[in-house]
Structure formats: structure tokens, C-alpha cells
Symmetry: C2
């Protein structure tokens, strides 16, 4: 029931996702009265989907703490509960991000050794793709949080992006090791001499996101969220300029017509809907957030992300890596030194 266009885009999104994933079944938590007609319309969704009639919902304006306190019977909470009980392998929601994170943390708990989950997303780059985290779950982060994000991001890049030895960078205002705030400097020092067997590149800058200088970019949630939205805004601005340029004269319009298949392919490649699906990494369960304003195509991407996270065993990988950090989790001597 979450997002601006629920529940229609959810069902339509599942329908699109079924073109690309197989052997997956869905539990839909929401108002049966609204959902049943949609399953009638999308028959193949109906065949693999079960409705759990849930009348209450979490509004997009709800404060996370309030949602946590009063939303025990909401569709959001009940879908997360299904992950906790093992009935579902993961949850996908286009609803209130803060509420989803608060409930998921409360119900699923973090993986052993993880202090705070992080929001991660895959970005297109000049060289391929990279994953960046945190994108907004943790406004303030210390060095240990950043190191934990590095571990989780590295597992993701191996398991989901299929990279054998992904490189990891910390987002900073310069590549030199003296630059930046205390948290990034300490995190860098920890990653540099740790026994984590992470291929640590060092600091990267804002333009390294699009350049694809590394495979994993680690940052605090404040900076990461602003970088994410700056990318979205810049893309929109440049698309707008391009559209204007290509309709500015009869010649330009003719040119645009001839180039339209190529331009369409390009737009599809950078279409943010293909990158919908922000993962909450570090939880004891798969939880994926689709954009609040998503459409069916975007929601189908988020569904695919959840399916991949489950199939690729990302959480198992994170668990293993945190065990390797030491028997007492990430707070072994080296990491504690970074606090």
C-alpha cells in the first residue's frame, strides 16, 4: 500500500518483474478489496500471489517512531513480520522510508556485528556499475559505521554485481590522506591496515561516482543522500536541456527524429527506474525500498533487487565477513581503535 500510486503499480510491477524472475511467489499485504480486482486484471500475477487482507497502512507523512508504536497491524509491519517468521524471503515497499527502516530494524534486527544498517543503491558509471552506501539511513556516522558499510558493500559487489575482488573507496573532498573529517580519516586508517582482505582504494571524490573509479563507495547518510539526489537533479536538468536543444529548430527536430532509436536506447540506459530498489543492508532479512513516486517499471526493478539479494545470499556473506572480523564482531581491537 506504499508510495504515491499504490496498490496499482505494485501489482503492475510484479507483472513486469515476472518477465525476468521465475519461481518467485508473492504475498501482498493490503486491502483485499483493492487488490483482488488487480489480480483479476493481471492473471499471471494472481497465479503466484496470495493476498493478506490488511486494512491499516502507514502514511507517507508518519514519523518513524509513531509508525513503530502504532502501526503493528499495518501492511508495512505485517509484511516485515512475514520475513521475520520465514514465511517470506524478503520484503519490497514503496512506502515511508523512515518507517520502513525503523520497523525493519525493530523486527528483523541487525546482523551480528552490524551496528547500523545502511541504504545502498547501484549506480551506472563510465565503467559499468558501482554500489554506494549509506544513502540516508544514518545522518551521522563514526569511523566504525563506515568500516561496517565497507564490509557490507564489498559483499554486495561480490555476490550481486559478480565482481571477484571489488575495490572500495571512501567519499571525501580530496584523494590525499590528510583531507576530510575525523570519521573518514579514521575509517581509512582502519581499512588500510585491517585484516579484512578488502581491496581498499582510499579516498574518492564526487566525480568518481560517475567515473566508476571503484566498485563500492562508502559515505555517511547525509552526504550520500545529497550525492544521490544531486545525481538525479543533474540528470533531469541535462535531459531537459537536450530536449530543448533537439526541438529548437526544424533541422534539430529532423536530426532528433533520425537519432531517435539511439537516443531512446540511451535514455533507457540512464532511466532511474532501472536503478530503483534501495537495499537496506545489514539487516537480518532482505528489505528493499522502491521510490515513493515509482511506476510499475521502477517497482519491478525493486522486486528484482530483492530476488537477487535473496538468491545471491548477500546476508549470509555479510554474516560470514563479520565473523571473520573477530569473535567479538566488529568491535575487535583494530576497529575499536578507530572510534
Amino acid at each position: 500500500m506504499g508510495g504515491d500510486n499504490a496498490p496499482d503499480v505494485v501489482v503492475e510491477g510484479i507483472n513486469l518483474a515476472l518477465d525476468q524472475v521465475s519461481g518467485v511467489r508473492f504475498l501482498l499485504f493490503g486491502r483485499e478489496q483493492q487488490l483482488a480486482p488487480l489480480l483479476d486484471r493481471y492473471r499471471r500475477v494472481g497465479l503466484v500471489t496470495e493476498i493478506r487482507d490488511t486494512l491499516e497502512t502507514v502514511s507517507s507523512a508518519a514519523k518513524p517512531s509513531a509508525a513503530l508504536r502504532t502501526g503493528r497491524n499495518s501492511s508495512m509491519r505485517r509484511s516485515i513480520d512475514a520475513v521475520a517468521t520465514g514465511e517470506a524471503g524478503g520484503v519490497v515497499s514503496a512506502g515511508n522510508t523512515g518507517a520502513l527502516m525503523a520497523m525493519a530494524k525493530f523486527v528483523l534486527k541487525t546482523l551480528p556485528g552490524v551496528d547500523r544498517p545502511a541504504i545502498a543503491t547501484v549506480f551506472p558509471t563510465l565503467r559499468g556499475r558501482l554500489v554506494m552506501l549509506d544513502l540516508g539511513a544514518n545522518i551521522e556516522c563514526d569511523a566504525n559505521n563506515l568500516v561496517q558499510f565497507a564490509v557490507m558493500g564489498e559483499v554486495f559487489a561480490r555476490k550481486v554485481l559478480g565482481l571477484e575482488k571489488p575495490s572500495v573507496g571512501i567519499l571525501n573532498v580530496g584523494a590525499e590522506h590528510l583531507k576530510g573529517n575525523d570519521a573518514v580519516k579514521k575509517a581509512s586508517a582502519i581499512l588500510q591496515d585491517s585484516s579484512l582482505s578488502i581491496r581498499f582504494h582510499g579516498f574518492v571524490e564526487g566525480d568518481d561516482i560517475a567515473a566508476g573509479t571503484v566498485d563500492v563507495i562508502v559515505t555517511d547518510g547525509f552526504t550520500g543522500n545529497i550525492a544521490l539526489k544531486t545525481i538525479e537533479g543533474t540528470s533531469r536538468l541535462l535531459s531537459e536541456y537536450l530536449k530543448k536543444a533537439l526541438s529548437s529548430s526544424p533541422m534539430a527536430r529532423m536530426g532528433a527524429l533520425l537519432a531517435s532509436p539511439a537516443l531512446r536506447a540511451m535514455h533507457a540506459h540512464v532511466d532511474p527506474r532501472h536503478y530503483d530498489g534501495a537495499m537496506f543492508l545489514g539487516l537480518n532479512g532482505v528489505c528493499v525500498k522502491s521510490h515513493g513516486g515509482t511506476d510499475a517499471l521502477g517497482f519491478s526493478s525493486a522486486v528484482r533487487v530483492a530476488v537477487e539479494l535473496i538468491a545471491d545470499g548477500v546476508n549470509e556473506g555479510i554474516k560470514q565477513d563479520f565473523v571473520c572480523l573477530g569473535s567479538d564482531g566488529p568491535n575487535n581491537s583494530k576497529m575499536a581503535a578507530g572510534r
Copy 2:
């Protein structure tokens, strides 16, 4: 002598700038042996330019503190000295940013009431232009720093962008007043109920930069630097995608040819060289930094920025506004409460 391509681009940049500014004279601090032949080549530059033979330079790798200590006879330092003595109205450099800021702060001092200068730049937006600051001078900022940036940015938008009542926003991870870190929340509270007569919009997000939601965006130097470079990187990525798309087939190439005048106009509009010239606001003197890798076109933009800052009396405006904040500068009761 600063930047990757000095001193050639400096002289060529002045030559280009002379197409757009008039009545301006230049002092060139650097090696006469290198500069004299360039002035012979660009005769009209030679007519309005005087060389001050200076053998020492500040390297791009120098630490700011070291440059400050040992660079007293460098071209960078002597050009700043010329501003302090009143011999020059302002200084433009493509050299080491940290050294330039450290020397400018030491020699020129900050304006009364300004604790820390900020780096500001103008960005193109869907609605026109906006100014954002700080872009990297201050890695960590408290609420008072941010409020001071708001005042300085607002003066700039009035004086240089020519806006009567510019709106000011603080960069944050959400528009709601409960979002963000302490510094932005306190700064927002101060600006909301201050007697500054600033049109304060509230919080803005990363995508509001390109959208042009406000005329002035205030942020700490860490976030601002990453946003700036994220914009640069994203623009480069999308240009690359566009180039690839428009050469992907004979039809696309034909289309690109027909649309080429329109595409060229668009590229010129977003060309970062037209936005070169980062201003150090809050100093008792005009100081503008051109991109280290700048070419002549970029350097000419930086020269124009300096000329505008001087002609429009931006520093006078900032001085006045800080006087209005109270007889004891920005540390009056309201602002001190925000610490």
C-alpha cells in the same frame, strides 16, 4: 603561475576576458622570462598589463600551512599582498586552493563579523542560476558558520545575480524541519526567526540544486564539495553517453549532424568553463580561484567573476549586512543561541 597550464592560459584567458570587460588593468605576478613573450604575442593584453617579476611559486602539492610559512615571496602571496595594499582590486589564481585560501585569510583577513570565508560558485539551473556555498573551505561547520554563509550568499545573489529578494535554502536530506544534523537544524531555526530580512525558504535537497528551487544554497564545505564534484561527474557521464548514442549508427550520426548547431549551443550553455571562478566570500578583498586544470576560456570566466565582484561591491554589501546583525557582529544573542 598557478594551475596545470600556467602561465599560458592566464595570458590567453585575460585576452578572452578583454572581449567582455573594459577599463580593467592587470598585474601579472610570475617569471618575467616566461610572461614577456606571451605579452608580445597577445598585444592587447600587453597594453593593459604590468609584469611583476616573481621567481618563487607555490606548488600544487604544497600544504597550505607550509605555503603560508615559506611562500612569502611566491607569486601567489605577492598577488594577494597587492590586494591588501590596494594596488589591486582583486586577485585571480588557478593555483593550489588550500594555499590560496590560507594566504588570503592571513593577508586580507575576514570581513568584520565573518568567522570563516566560504567558497562560492554559480550553477546553471532549470530556472536560471543560483549560487551555492561553501564548496570546500570548511570541512566542518556549525550553525553560525552556515548562517554567515547565508548572509554572504544572499548579498552575492543581490549584487551579482541582480536579484531583488533572493531566496535562501539550506542543503539537507529532507525538506521537513526535523531532518538533518544539529548544525542545519539550528541554522534553520536562526534564519527562520532572525531579523536579517533574508527570504529563507527552509531546507532543500540535492535535486533542488539543478531545479533552481532557491537562489542561494547554503551547506558545509564537505557536502558542498561532494555535490559540486558529483554534478561535474554526472555531466561528464551523460555527455559521454550522448556522444556514444549519437555515433552508434549511420542514422544516428546523420541525425547528430543535422542537430549539431543546437547540440553545440546546448554544450556551450552547460560548459563548466563558463562557470569557472570560485569566489572566496567573506574576505576583506576579492579573491577568485580558477580551476587547476582550466583553459583560457575557463580562466577568462574567473577574471570576469573577479571584475564583477569588485564592480558590484559585494564585500561592501556583506560588511553592511553583518553590521545590521548587531553591533557586536554575528555573535549577537540570537546567533549565539544557535551555537
